[in-house]
């Protein structure tokens, strides 16, 4: 009897399902390549996927209200490239200031996107598709048509990503901080709950006195802010700014959220889910070269793994729903 209830608990919660999938992945990879499960290797993995992990939080908010944002990597490129060029031509030297500027640019981009979507009623996919082109082009223009800002030009800014605090890299602290803040924000603040309310039923939310338009705008501003942060992190981690950085990366962020159980029609999804989703993707990316598949096969396997994870998730969910129904019948 007891065993059954544990099983029920696992199949009953989406997050627990994801944890199980993640553990299976970890176990499988460790069997093939034991060096995977070392602290250094795992911290490397987190650091190398910091951008996706941080930005999935923003995508979580956007998807919770039933939206989507495919302009994020263009925002990232614009903000990252801007501070890259500012540092390169020594208009600014302070790393803190560079961070602030990147965040401001990202937030501004998010605000514009949010305004267009919430005030002009443009469907999110179309608006952000337009802005994907616009911000990316602006990134190119900022870079003087194709200059790179390299390690030397970035001065002390890039040291952020190599500095350790209490034995853990600063970049990883940023991830932890973001996830903790968002965990509390989504769960226990008024605004966080409003986002869920708007996502579950916009009309009901409107009637109960929530300013739906402002909430819809807010999520894109949050997304923009995190994209700006992603830009600063990207430039700092890889010590180079290029106008075409992370092109196509938005799909990874969306995939991370969907794998993490965030519904694309809004209203459903949690910070823990987004965490697991992005961890699963990060693990796949880290494991593919380790396990030693032929390089030609790696993309196909990545695609199949994503498909398998979401399908398994659906099947387990169906079983869980069936169980729940059975429980009620009894």
């Amino acid at each position: 009897m007891e065993k059954k209830s544990v099983l029920k608990k696992i199949t009953g919660s989406r997050e627990a399902l994801l944890a199980v999938i993640l553990i299976i992945l970890f176990a499988a990879i460790t069997i093939v390549s034991p060096s995977f499960l070392t602290p250094k290797s795992l911290l490397d993995m987190l650091k190398n996927n910091a951008v996706t992990m941080v930005m999935s939080l923003g995508m979580l908010c956007v998807m919770l209200v039933g939206g989507i944002d495919i302009s994020i990597m263009s925002t990232l490129a614009l903000s990252g490239m801007s501070i890259g060029m500012l540092l390169k031509y020594e208009h600014i030297t302070s790393p803190v200031l560079a961070f602030v500027i990147a965040l401001l640019i990202g937030t501004a981009c998010g605000l514009v996107v949010g305004l267009v979507i919430s005030r002009a009623d443009v469907p999110p996919i179309i608006a952000t598709m337009g802005f994907m082109y616009i911000f990316r082009a602006m990134g190119y223009l900022v870079s003087n048509g194709g200059e790179w800002a390299s390690a030397k030009a970035l001065g002390s800014f890039k040291d952020f990503a190599t500095t350790k605090l209490l034995g853990i890299n600063c970049v990883i602290w940023v991830i932890i901080l973001c996830y903790v803040v968002f965990f509390f924000f989504m769960k226990w603040t008024r605004t966080g709950r409003k986002i869920y309310a708007v996502g579950s039923n916009a009309n009901a939310a409107e009637v109960s006195g929530i300013n739906v338009k402002n909430i819809k705008m807010l999520v894109y501003v949050i997304m923009g802010f995190l994209a700006g942060l992603g830009g600063a992190l990207q430039v700092s981690i890889y010590a180079s700014a290029m106008p075409d950085m992370q092109q196509g990366g938005e799909m990874d962020v969306i995939a991370a959220c969907v794998i993490g159980g965030v519904s694309m029609s809004g209203g459903r999804g949690t910070v823990i889910g987004a965490l697991f989703g992005s961890l699963i993707l990060a693990t796949i990316a880290k494991a593919l070269p380790l396990v030693g598949f032929d390089a030609l096969w790696q993309n196909t396997i990545k695609g199949i793994l994503i498909l398998v994870v979401v399908v398994v998730n659906v099947i387990l969910q169906r079983i869980a729903d069936k169980n729940a129904l059975k429980g009620r019948e009894m």
Binding site: I125, A137, M264, L296, N299
Partner: protein
């Protein structure tokens, strides 16, 4: 949400001339003329013959736009089409290089495309809970991945016998065959979507899936058909694409899905489902082609062209909404 404005199942237009001109399609026609005037005065090389000569590769993307419009009307999205184009182009070239007759090559292209579309359709109908975007994202990676595996190191294949493809890329006078085919298919797709029961059902599903289901529409069957046709058209697109490059490589068709969606959306087909018609999509496709050719001939930076397209895309959807809002405020 759907059916707020524009066309939906319940307001088939009666078409008085005034209304037609002021409809989105009317505005698009005016825009089309304006853009042509603009391009002709902007670039001295812009004329009918240069336009016709440069058109084929863009027209190949129109093949994708036609079924994409159906998918958008359903309220869904398919971002795997670019990869389907890649895979079927690769397979066609391989079959072509075995010395098979050209008809077999054509059939291979169409068949591979259809199969890929069928895979999308089957997964999406078997697991209805899955969002189309994530499924087609996964298949996008997979289809291109398979092409990468097949192409192997080097990642590029060249058709040794290009006669058939040259024929496909041929012209009547200076009008390429592909233009005729695009027009014929556009009419077929537009009529099916606008006039047939099937088309009405697509709108019904896009407007309210549950209602459609309970009123006896085979929602999943229709979705399966549409995604499969999407694949077939991607196969067709790949054949014409080969006729401009006599080969395939791992980046073939990259980004085509976005181009196709942009054309459809600019033409007033809403991505939220249930709205829009193909006439708008087709006119907007030609607007985008003319704009790209015209600006390209003046060697405007490609990123700037994309920037302009982005602004147009947003403006096309935002402006009518803003005008509507202003009107409402004024009326109050």
């Amino acid at each position: 949400m759907a059916g707020k404005s524009g066309r939906s199942i319940n307001n088939v237009p009666e078409a008085p001339i005034k209304k037609m001109i002021l409809s989105w399609e009317g505005i698009l026609v005016v825009l089309f003329i304006l853009i042509n005037i603009f391009c002709a005065s902007f670039s001295e090389f812009y004329n009918l013959s240069s336009l016709l000569r440069q058109m084929p590769i863009y027209l190949a993307e129109v093949f994708l736009m036609l079924p994409m419009a159906y998918i958008l009307v359903l309220g869904e999205i398919d971002i795997s089409v670019g990869s389907i184009v890649c895979l079927s182009a690769t397979m066609s070239c391989i079959v072509c290089n075995t010395g098979a007759p050209f008809i077999i090559v054509v059939l291979t292209g169409l068949l591979v495309g259809t199969l890929c579309g069928l895979v999308n359709g089957v997964i999406l109908t078997k697991f209805q809970e899955l969002p189309p975007m994530i499924v087609t994202l996964a298949t996008q990676i997979i289809f291109r991945g398979i092409a990468e595996i097949v192409l192997g190191s080097g990642g590029s294949i060249s058709a040794t016998n290009t006669d058939g493809f040259r024929l496909l890329g041929g012209k009547v006078g200076s009008v390429p065959y592909i233009l005729f085919l695009v027009i014929i298919l556009a009419v077929v797709f537009a009529v099916v979507l606008g006039k047939s029961t099937f088309g009405r059902r697509v709108y019904a599903i896009g407007t309210n899936r549950l209602t459609a289901y309970y009123s006896g529409i085979h929602v999943q069957k229709i979705r399966l058909i549409i995604y499969t046709v999407m694949g077939t058209m991607a196969g067709l697109c790949s054949l014409f694409l080969i006729s401009t490059s006599y080969g395939a490589n791992t980046t073939t068709g990259n980004g085509f899905e976005m181009d196709a969606i942009a054309m459809a959306v600019f033409g007033g087909i809403s991505s939220t489902g249930g709205k829009g018609n193909l006439a708008g999509g087709i006119i907007s496709a030609f607007i985008i082609v003319c704009l790209r050719v015209g600006l390209g001939q003046k060697n405007v930076h490609a990123q700037v062209i994309l920037l302009i397209l982005g602004v147009l895309l947003i403006a096309a959807v935002a402006l009518p909404n803003i005008v509507g809002q202003v009107k409402r405020v004024v009326k109050k």
